[in-house]
Structures are given as C-alpha cells and as structure tokens.
C-alpha cells in the first residue's frame, strides 16, 4: 500500500515530530516551515520519480492528499524538464 509506504517515509524523515501520524494528520503537524516542506517534496519526488506541480502541491492539507498526489503524478519525471523536481 502506497499510503503505508509514505507514512513510513515521513516517520523516518521527520522522526522527532510525528510519533502518531496517520493519513488524516495535517501537514502542519509534520512540517514546521518551508525548509521541511522542500525536504519532504525532495524525498518523495526522488522516490516516486515525479515532477512537481506547484498548483496541486500548494493544495495539500494532510498525508492523504500527499498520497493522492503521488498516485496521480508518479513517473511523470521528464528528462527535458529536470528542474521541475528536486
């Protein structure tokens, strides 16, 4: 299940901030500033080979939204658009 995989990645990447996270956990309980957000997107875009879509990413509110975003956008990485990820 991709949701469980994403939960594990988030727990591993931000260990001190989320002991009890689930799909409904709001984004602001996992990340505290733009640096954390960039790090999270960098990790996920690298793992799931996705280009980032600013409009969709800025609508993310919780982990379920992250999971849906990844399912909809995985393997979108375009080698000619390399700066559109991390």
């Amino acid at each position: 299940m991709i949701e469980q995989e994403i939960l594990k990645i988030i727990k591993d990447s931000f260990p001190s901030k989320n002991t009890e996270i689930n799909l409904d956990t709001p984004l602001e309980e996992i990340i505290y500033d733009s640096m954390d957000f960039i790090e999270l997107i960098a990790i996920l875009s690298s793992k799931y080979k996705l280009d980032t879509d600013p409009k969709k990413l800025n609508k993310i509110k919780n982990i379920k939204d992250i999971s849906d975003y990844i399912i909809d956008n995985s393997k979108t990485k375009n080698s000619d658009q390399r700066l559109n990820s991390f």
Binding site: A42, T52, L83
Partner: protein, 186 residues
C-alpha cells in the same frame, strides 16, 4: 576604535546572519536530496558559501564584542509568506536569483551609509564580491533550462518573483528596528 554599535545595528547584522544561515541550510538540504547529478556540486558549494557568510556575520558581531541576536524572520521566511512553499528546483533557483540580486543591491546601499564601522564595512564588501558567483551559476542553469524548454516558464516565474520581492523588501524595511537603523544613518 569604538566598538559600540546601536541595538538596531546589532539587529540588522543578526538578520543578515540568520538569512545567510537559512539560505545555507536550504541549499544544503537540496544538495543532500537532489537527483540531478550536475547540480550536486554547485548546490553544495552554494550551501557552503551561504553558511560561510553566516559565519562571517557572526564573526563581525563577535569582533564588535557582541553576541548575535536570535532572529527567526529572514529574507527566506518572508518570501515564503508571500510566494508560498517553493515546490521545485526551478522555483528555488529563480527565487534565489531574485533574492541574491536584492541582497547585493541592499549590501551596496548599506556600504554607502556614513560612519559605518570598519568591521561592518569590510564584511559587507566581502559579501558583495562573493555573491557574484551565486548569481552567475544560477543564471547559467536557468538559461540552459529556457533554451531546452522555452523562455515562458522562467520569464513568468521571474516576473511573479520580482513582484513578490518588491512587497517583501518593503515589508522588511518597515521592521521598526531596521527602519530605526536606516533613520539613524541617513
């Protein structure tokens, strides 16, 4: 030499220090995670130089016999409030290009202030020289991206970021401590 500087001056130096450190941390994280092989070196160098600048401001404050203030409001945090969370390297590079130009311009203006302490003047001077590398490598990457993918994407992003920069810079200059410092030295 009288090492005394005003409270406002200590704040502005601490703000410069915090902004450089924030830039270094951000670029360090991206350098750590990036999948783009050819960017790993310039991103790491950029991160290292930003942190070095953070140290130079720390050292300048130390040489003045003081301790840096804890400042959490930085150029980066203010850009974030206005622009939103950056979501790609393209956005980070465009944002950095606009911000670095602003910083160079601001430092050059600061250098023109009368009765500047020599420690501060030297640090400002060294910063202006160093920032040139940052502007140069990012411009090359953005130009290469535009050559491959068309100019519209970068042009639109830069236009938006220049608008954001204008708002953010004016807001920062409205900070009472920074305003107070500028008033004192005009």
């Amino acid at each position: 030499m009288n090492n005394k500087i005003s409270e406002q001056e200590l704040y502005i130096l601490s703000f410069y220090r915090a902004s450089e450190l924030a830039g270094g941390l951000l670029f360090g994280k991206i350098a750590f995670h990036t999948e783009i092989d050819e960017l790993r070196i310039p991103l790491t160098r950029h991160a290292a130089e930003e942190v070095e600048h953070g140290w130079l401001w720390t050292k300048a404050i130390m040489d003045l016999g003081l301790v840096p203030l804890k400042v959490t409001e930085t150029y980066q945090s203010e850009y974030g409030k206005e622009f939103g969370m950056p979501t790609s390297l393209l956005e980070i590079l465009c944002l950095t290009q606009v911000l670095e130009k602003r910083v160079v311009q601001h430092f050059a203006e600061h250098l023109k202030k009368p009765n500047l302490h020599p420690v501060i003047a030297k640090t400002l001077h060294d910063m202006v020289e160093d920032e040139t590398y940052h502007l140069d490598w990012i411009k090359k990457k953005l130009d290469a991206h535009s050559e491959k993918n068309g100019h519209e994407e970068v042009d639109l992003l830069m236009k938006r970021l220049h608008e954001v920069d204008e708002i953010v810079y004016n807001r920062i200059m409205e900070n009472q401590k920074i305003k107070g410092y500028i008033k004192q030295h005009d």
